[in-house]
Symmetry: C2
Subunit: 300 residues, 2 copies
């Protein structure tokens, strides 16, 4: 089986192509810079938003299945970037080319930010209200709405929640804390009351690979199903690093209007896709901290 | 003021560019076949879905405002056509290019099929549930969701209801009845209980022109606001033609699952855009019948 993976050099993509390759899939990987792709059978480069690029890629690879991860995820900017228009268009044109080429299955990737988060309870794919509030999330949701309406192709939509792991952008929570701890710097944060659903990217990659290889259709949350407070994440990392003294919970003001709880219902992932994470949160954080320690230690 | 109109040779577009030109606008019109455009200052041809076409058009015209009417409306096929993917993509890429070129206002065109129709009452832009049920309507709605989230540009979304007038596809209701009457053929139909909101395309074009020139943002119904049964439309046309004997109400079975009532709330169009139709339904039908009589009479 031949699977085309776009966004293959990204934070999640790099873990996904490994999981697919281990499952015996012939992975054809696309990333803007093909030389950054590691572990695929074939790698292609170029800007998928360029005129004609999506169709040309499909016709070159002729995959059985497409996993489309590529999108603008430039830290901070992606929420409101005009590039969301181009990525929505590229996604629809990739799907059109896939349909025309007889591709059997198309898996797109969305976000927990498509949901209106309940103050308690979990986000369920079938019952939780869809209410995206940023251009990024609206664009993702719009792509999903169109693709879901297609016949002639098996379509699934992976909604990613909070992820952490190697290669994370250092401005994001876990990477920021782990890097500071590895450097022996103080890590001030708010009271950290917000509860989030964190999953290691290696498990997220494996979950995406399982979804690609399953027959499950429609939206599927890719998450742990467990809520953990930001303060608890920080304290766990402090303990793992043996530097709990550097974790300064409550040193920064709480962010206003932050949703109190973003946690996934993972019954579809567990019972239909039949995926379970292979590591606990503490194991994942410990591996991630070790990666950051090597990363920081390797710097001059 | 320079307005770019796409889909300018279509059923609605051809009436809209005339209305804009009469308002003193410099109309730059795009249609797949430029030679079919009548009444614009400048006409451009080509397939707007072709790679790079949308951006190239914006950069060539450098409009102040865009009215984007172009879409696949091939009779019968458009509900489920894969071309809906390409048109959604082309719409988003046109908007992206418009944003980058500093275009002030972008008016897109949707459909009453975006609504879940109430069994009584009218479809209101702000309160009626959005529940598109075909790929066509889902794609239109998806484009609207993304464009509505943009800052930096004034955005309005025209929801067209039922239209009739010259150049209508002969398989559609009014055209079919008028053409049969003009030929002296019997016009069998169902009991015709379904109530619809019919507007003459010349008024629809004038309404779109008024919307383009207004500062109204968000969704605006383009319709008459009056419900009329299909049977009444047929009987009115029969009377206009002096051939009521040819109208056979009840000769065909009713369609199952047909929504009983699709009527627009036109308060936004009337009170904010300040548009009112210039002709009554009977006047519009009489003009349309006259057009069909000339059309049919002109054939060998």
């Amino acid at each position: 089986m031949r699977v085309l993976v776009t966004g293959a050099s990204g934070f999640v993509g790099r873990q996904t192509i490994g999981a697919l390759a281990r499952a015996g899939v012939e992975v054809h990987a696309h990333a803007q810079h093909a030389e950054k792709v590691d572990g695929a059978v074939v790698a292609y480069g170029g800007d998928l938003r360029a005129p004609g690029a999506a169709g040309a890629l499909i016709n070159r690879v002729r995959p059985d299945t497409v996993l489309h991860l590529a999108w603008n995820v430039e830290h901070g900017a992606f929420w409101t970037s005009r590039d969301n228009l181009d990525w929505t268009a590229a996604t629809l044109l990739l799907a059109r080319a896939a349909l025309d080429a007889g591709v059997q299955r198309f898996v797109g990737v969305g976000t927990c930010f498509e949901y209106r988060w309940p103050d308690d309870g979990t986000c369920n794919e079938g019952t939780t209200e869809i209410a995206p509030a940023t251009l990024y999330a609206v664009a993702k949701d719009a792509a999903r709405r169109v693709l879901q309406e297609l016949g002639d192709i098996s379509f699934a939509w992976a909604r990613l929640f909070y992820l952490y792991g190697p290669f994370e952008h250092e401005a994001r929570l876990v990477a920021s804390l782990a890097a500071k701890l590895a450097r022996g710097e103080a890590a001030p944060l708010s009271r950290g009351l917000a509860v989030r659903d964190f999953l290691d990217t290696r498990d997220a990659g494996a979950a995406l690979a399982a979804l690609v290889l399953s027959e499950t259709t429609g939206a599927v949350n890719i998450a742990s199903g467990e809520g953990v407070s930001v303060a608890s994440i920080a304290e766990r990392l402090g303990a793992i690093a043996g530097r709990s003294d550097l974790i300064r919970v409550g040193a920064l003001p709480d962010r206003p209007d932050e949703p109190p709880r973003i946690v996934a219902d993972v019954r579809r992932l567990r019972d239909e896709v039949r995926f379970r994470p292979s590591r606990t949160l503490d194991e994942g954080l410990a591996e991630t901290y070790a990666w950051w320690r090597a990363e920081v230690g390797g710097r001059p």
